[in-house]
Structure formats: structure tokens, C-alpha cells
Symmetry: C2
Subunit: 219 residues, 2 copies
DNA sequence: GCCTACTGCGAACGCTGTATGCAGTGTGCG
DNA sequence: CGCACACTGCATACAGCGTTCGCAGTAGGC
């Protein structure tokens, strides 16, 4: 969406896509905190200040990263008309994308929409037409779905070992051992027990999606 | 949860609650970005490094802030048994809290649970018992509900005027004027049209909650 | 062939979170 | 009673951050 400037002077040495790709690669490899202007510039073989010829701010860079990830959805031009199938497709693509880019959940909330995110929104708004939801409800539900998927993928992987993870584990164990909040203690204990990722995440994912579509009320 | 140290030496000049309160006030008044160690310390009339006698890191401070906000829920000791009523109560308290503290949504995702957050979890886990959901589903749904409420409250207030807001508005208008994505253009146009906050947010809130409980499938 | 819009970027500014070391304090113990 | 020492507050420093400024160099349009 940038205004292509007049075409005098030297050709830009990089492109927005280059920058976005490099930033995404950096975040994938070393976490979102490793994405600094200087680091991205260095990865491109450029000086730090040079990046500001392409982006206006760091938030701008974040927007580019989100749009880059949105490209991975690669959705069909038109929804099929079966809204459950359409949303399931989006959800599966999203789950895969968030597994590849766990940091994306933090950015997608506040980002302004690039062209690929707009394609994503367009598809989902159209896919939700058969539900009869009005526009604000659809927008609301899309955000809800997106958050749920990001959250699911986040907990699905949770690789980051180290001292912070150990502290977290000790914290969970202390909660599980605290009898003053029995429901919470039971929940933490059961989460600790079934940790080894055997819980068939595919099944959990489908079940969660079904709850989103049909609600949590007992049927 | 801090180990109360041996009681030699001078009394600490501040308390964790003081610190949390000051940090929350700062975030409320000037946004989350204004919460820096130095700023909080200055507000307390202390030196910057002094805060590290109370907290271990900035994330630790964030945890305190989240727990401080969680205290505002002030939930009953036991859920009533009517899970819809219980969840509605939590949702309304949450909505009020997130309206007072719009920044809390960004922190609540990654924070580790202090005692007040644990009380909140305990209540909700118990409240969800009548639904028959298993433990992981309940935890999942609680996160979903929390995200939805934070998101709702965020869009409900959106006060922050200035140049960033103006740029965002221009962006939305350009999307509304782009015919290549008709559903999205229609959605943005309709959002622009009904902007003046007349849309009875209470009604929207209740309707959204109902969708969470009963799903979005046409009935 | 020059004017000029453009690019890349070294250097600097003000800010951040955090580590270190030291002076001062007051309680518990000998 | 007095001293040892665990404890507090904090000045200072460090590395890194996002961002700005100004300048050198490049190349298309007239």
C-alpha cells in the first residue's frame, strides 16, 4: 500500500517482502524479542537506519510480518457455501501457521491489515454469510476464532525449555498441591498428569472448533 | 507468594500492592508503554534500582498488575450452580475491569497466576462443572471467554485520538472504497456508518455471550 | 550534462531493563 | 548492652533499543 515514489535515484536494494521474510525468519528462530531493527537490517546486510527507507516504524514492521504470515493461508477465491467446512479449512491453515510462527498471535491483535490479511478477512466474511450473523458479529467471531487458534497452537507446542519453563512448572506444581482451591488444584494436577502430548491434539482441535460452532451448552 | 525474608534490617518502604497499584494507575493514565521501571519507581518516590528489591523482572511487575486487576472481579466464594448466570457475572465484571484497564488484555495472556487470578480460575472451573466439559476444555474456554471480553471492551471504548487514530480511520475508509474485496468493503462501510456508539453495546455484549454459550450455528 | 529526487547509512539522542557495589539501618543474639 | 550481619535504598553503569539527522553517493529526466 506504499505510494511508489518517483523513480529517480538508485534502485532500492531491498523490497518489503525481503524485509518481512527476514523478520519472520528471525522471529521463528530466536523469538519475537530478537526482532530488532538492527538485527533485521544486519540480516539483510544493511545498516540499521536504512530500514527506515522502507518502513515507518517498528509497528509497521510488525504489520508486514503479520501480512507475511497471512499469505500462508492461501485460501480459495470463494468460500464453498458450507460454512462449517470453510471455517474448518481456515482453522486448519491457521493452526499450521501459528505452529510455524508462535509469536504471530501477539502481533495479530493490534496489527493493521495488509493485503493478505484483507484477503483472509474477505474469505471469512463471505464464508460466514450462511450463518445469518450480522456484520459486527462476524467481525467479532473472526477475532474470536483467530485468538482461539493462536492460543491452541501456542499450548500445543510449548517447547521453550530453560529456567523460565522450570519456574513455571514449579509454579503449576505448587498450585496443584494447594488444597485451598480444590478445582484449580485438580485441574493443574490433571494437566500435569496428561502432559506427554499423547492427548491427540487433532481430536482436541476438532472438538474445540465444534464448541465454537455449536456452543458449550450440554446437548 | 514471595518468601517473607528474615526480619532484620530496616522495614521495606513499600509493598507489592503499592507497586502494583502505582503501575496500574500509570498504565491507566498514560498507556502500558508508560509503565517503565523508572517511572513506577519515581511515582513511588523511590530510585529505579530500588524496585528490584521487590520484583525480579519487568514481567514480574506485569504479573502483579494482572493480579491487581483480577482483584476487581470480587467473585463470590462459590458459584451458584447456574452456569450461565455464573459466567454472565464473570463476564460483566470482566467487561468493567477491561474498560477501566484496556491494557490488561495484552498482559493477561502470558502472565503467571497470582493469588487473585487463581481465585478467578477456581470460581470459573467450578462454575463450568455443570456443563460437563472436561478439564482441558474448561481451561480452554476460560481463556477464550477472557480474550473475547478483553477484545469487546477494547473496541467498546477506543478513545485514543491523535494521528495514529486518524491514519487508522483513513485506512479503514480506503478498504471500504476498494471494490476488489466486496464483503470486506461492505463490512468496513457498515462499521463506519454505525460508528457513533449508539449500537447499544449492552445488547451486543449479551448477544455475543449467548453466541459463546450456544454457538453461532443458525437455530 | 547537470539538476535533483532518491538511496544507504554512520553517528548520535534519549530511553529502556537490569547488574553491581556500597552506604546506611535496625533486629536478634551473644 | 553492643555488635554482627541480614537487610534496605539507590547511584552508577552497561548494553541494547527505536528513531532522527545530515551527508555522501547514485542515476533518471529535462
Amino acid at each position: 500500500m506504499r505510494a511508489r515514489a518517483g523513480r529517480k535515484g538508485p534502485r532500492p536494494a531491498h523490497s518489503l517482502d525481503d524485509i518481512a521474510r527476514e523478520a519472520v525468519a528471525l522471529a521463528d528462530a530466536q523469538g519475537l524479542a530478537a526482532v530488532s531493527i538492527r538485527a533485521v537490517a544486519a540480516e539483510l546486510g544493511a545498516g540499521a537506519a536504512s530500514l527506515y527507507r522502507y518502513i515507518a516504524s517498528k509497528d509497521d514492521l510488525y504489520d508486514l510480518m503479520v501480512d507475511e504470515v497471512a499469505a500462508e493461508y492461501d485460501l480459495p477465491d470463494e468460500p464453498s457455501g458450507d460454512w462449517i467446512a470453510d471455517l474448518t479449512l481456515v482453522a486448519e491453515r491457521g493452526r499450521a501457521a501459528y505452529r510455524r510462527h508462535p509469536w504471530a498471535g501477539q502481533l495479530s491483535a493490534g496489527a493493521s491489515w495488509g493485503p493478505r490479511v484483507q484477503d483472509y478477512m474477505e474469505f471469512l466474511l463471505a464464508a460466514l454469510e450462511p450463518t445469518g450473523l450480522d456484520i459486527p458479529e462476524r467481525v467479532d467471531f473472526i477475532a474470536l476464532l483467530n485468538n482461539w487458534i493462536a492460543n491452541f497452537a501456542q499450548h500445543e507446542i510449548q517447547p521453550v525449555d530453560g529456567d523460565a519453563a522450570a519456574a513455571k512448572a514449579r509454579h503449576v506444581e505448587s498450585i496443584a498441591a494447594d488444597p485451598s482451591r480444590p478445582h484449580l488444584a485438580g485441574a493443574m494436577a490433571s494437566l500435569l498428569r496428561t502432559d506427554p502430548a499423547d492427548a491427540h491434539p487433532d481430536l482436541l482441535f476438532r472438538r474445540g472448533l465444534d464448541r465454537l460452532f455449536h456452543g458449550i451448552a450440554p446437548r
